[in-house]
């Protein structure tokens, strides 16, 4: 599942690769801290607050003291920011009641500050399989709350999504990724609603062979998602490169029209593809390059 992606297009920049400090190898807390200006990071509701999931221990599942979501306030190139990072190693990054509300509440508080004269950007580090099934209905409900709070902040300040890998961003949280002002991804990152295993078990191996890594990366991989405009920026797995990309996204501000509002573009793209005879993944970007909204259409 975490096999390396096939080589990206174009020449390989070996100098950059050899000089880098890996971002992917960091855990969620270290990732969040690495993005913020040195010495400004302050974690909220951290391990010693011990706000655990109340639903895991009664099911015989060991909880984690921060429920797998790390909220760090600080400054990003001098500006107020909050980084919200999902720890992929705990329960597959699954969103439960506490972790989901932690994300939603942090986004709402950033929106409140932005309304009250302290513009606060949010960075979401999305490594998650989606809803944590041990908390099923409450996980699902909190993902809806995350989306709502994200949209509330997005109207005021950029919400920057980062999918660095290795888990990727799947399930309900892929919808949240789709709502971000800017989506940054690495070639090792993946984005999709339903993961390969889920599709294979729901629809059979002929529909999606979850052992076919080439297929998985050709559809869900960061390079493909960037080529086809479902992600915005493809970055190298490097702390400095990642931080620069996040700062640049912040400086671009709130987009004139968010991706999830470009309904005309979505329609043109769906109309350009025959679902009974879809293009090969490698050809999709070229097909969509010609798929522009019709004259007089809503954007």
């Amino acid at each position: 599942m975490t096999s390396p992606p096939p080589a990206a297009d174009g020449p390989t920049d070996w100098t950059a690769i050899l000089a880098r400090t890996g971002f992917i190898e960091l855990d969620a807390r270290a990732r969040a801290t690495a993005l913020l200006d040195d010495g400004t990071a302050r974690e909220l509701c951290g391990p010693f607050d011990r706000i655990e999931s109340p639903w895991l221990e009664p099911q015989g599942v060991v909880p984690q003291s921060d429920d797998g979501v790390i909220v760090v306030k600080g400054r990003l190139d001098g500006r107020p920011a909050v980084v919200i990072a999902i720890e992929q190693a705990f329960q597959g990054g699954g969103i439960g009641e506490v972790s989901g509300v932690k994300i939603a509440a942090a986004l709402s508080l950033a929106a409140r500050d932005s309304r009250d004269g302290t513009p606060t950007v949010a960075v979401l580090l999305l490594e998650t399989g989606g809803v944590r099934l041990q908390e099923a209905n409450l996980g699902l409900a909190t993902v809806a709350e995350v989306c709502s709070a994200l949209l509330e902040l997005r109207a005021l300040q950029p919400v920057i999504g980062v999918i660095a890998g290795t888990l990727g961003c799947f399930g309900g949280m892929s919808i949240a990724a789709g709502l971000c002002s800017t989506l940054i991804i690495t070639a090792e990152g993946r984005l999709g609603l339903d993961g390969p295993q889920v599709i294979e078990s729901e629809a059979g191996v002929a529909e999606f062979d979850a052992s076919d890594h080439t297929l998985i990366w050709s559809i869900d991989g960061g390079a493909q998602r960037t080529r086809t405009g479902l992600a915005d920026v493809l970055v190298l797995d490097d702390v400095t490169a990642m931080r620069s990309a996040v700062i640049e996204a912040m400086e671009r501000g709130v987009p004139g029209e968010h991706r999830s509002r470009r309904i005309g573009e979505l329609r043109a793209r769906l109309e350009a593809v025959d679902p009974t005879d879809p293009p090969a993944p490698a050809d999709l970007a070229a097909v969509w390059a010609h798929a522009v909204p019709r004259e007089g259409d809503r954007p």
Partner: protein
């Protein structure tokens, strides 16, 4: 006929139209308002093979986004408290699980639908969800879970969950019986609508005579409940904060309330 179809037809005052074969819409009088009903329904001939049974797929995500955004655009000139109610009639097996769906970015189509519903709510449209059948996973996120108010039929055919039982058992490595045993103690795991209603998300459970083929009494019950929900939505917040202040949430979502308070206290 699916429950989504029969309830939309029963509630409609006037024609039911197809936005696309799998998404229907109609107007319904609710008190002084004319509400826009929207439902996802089966389309056995859909070219999207994995979205023939009423799943929310690419085409459905787009059609939901267009329909909701259309109502918002049409009402933009109206006073915010006079914008029309939008009612999501929910009966869907799930999102569409398929290769072409992933290739073309189904998460993005669903995000467009989520964006449209949440934007309608933020613009003052009362967004009401009426769950009449199954409501699972990503399908419910895209069509139903951005509402100000959520109503559901109190009926065994109403199943609201993050994943259907067989798959949940497989993923969590439990048997179906073990899941039932756990669900009896742990409300968010339950497949029973009465347990779901304890989570603080449900604004009213409706008793009906025939959930498959609503009677005249059932239609009256539902319309009265929807009208009351519209009033509550207009009086209430435009975000989803009422889900944490409801009587059910005060009991079941104590942890949500605690983390929210702690985060606010530590914020500055």
């Amino acid at each position: 006929m699916s429950r989504g179809q029969s309830w939309t037809r029963a509630l409609a005052d006037g024609d039911v139209t197809h936005v696309v074969p799998s998404v229907i819409t109609a107007d319904a009088a609710l008190g002084a308002d004319t509400a826009r009903l929207i439902a996802v329904v089966p389309d056995p001939r859909s070219p999207y093979r994995r979205a023939r049974k009423g799943e929310v797929g690419l085409r459905e995500g787009l059609a939901l986004a267009e329909t909701v955004t259309g109502a918002v655009t049409e009402d933009a000139h109206r006073a915010e408290d006079r914008r029309r109610p939008i009612v999501a009639v929910v009966d869907l097996p799930s999102q569409a699980y398929g290769r072409v769906e992933e290739l073309l970015g189904i998460h993005h189509a669903l995000a467009a639908a989520v964006d449209a519903y949440a934007s309608a709510r933020a613009a003052g449209h009362p967004v009401i969800t009426l769950i009449v059948g199954t409501a699972l996973s990503g399908g419910l996120l895209a069509h139903g879970y951005q509402a100000n108010q959520i109503l559901a039929l109190d009926d065994p055919g109403v199943v609201i969950h993050a994943m259907h039982k067989e798959a949940a058992a497989r993923v969590t490595r439990r048997t179906s019986d073990e899941l039932d045993e756990l669900a009896a103690r742990i409300p968010p795991l339950s497949y029973e609508v009465a347990d779901w209603a304890k989570l603080g998300l449900c604004d009213e459970l409706l008793d009906v005579e025939d959930a498959d083929d609503p009677t005249e009494t059932d239609v009256r019950t539902a319309k009265d409940a929807l009208t009351a929900a519209v009033e509550r939505a207009r009086r209430g917040p435009r975000d989803l904060s009422n889900r944490l202040t409801s009587p059910g949430a005060r009991v079941t979502r104590a942890a949500s309330r605690r983390i929210r308070e702690a985060l606010a206290a530590q914020w500055h």
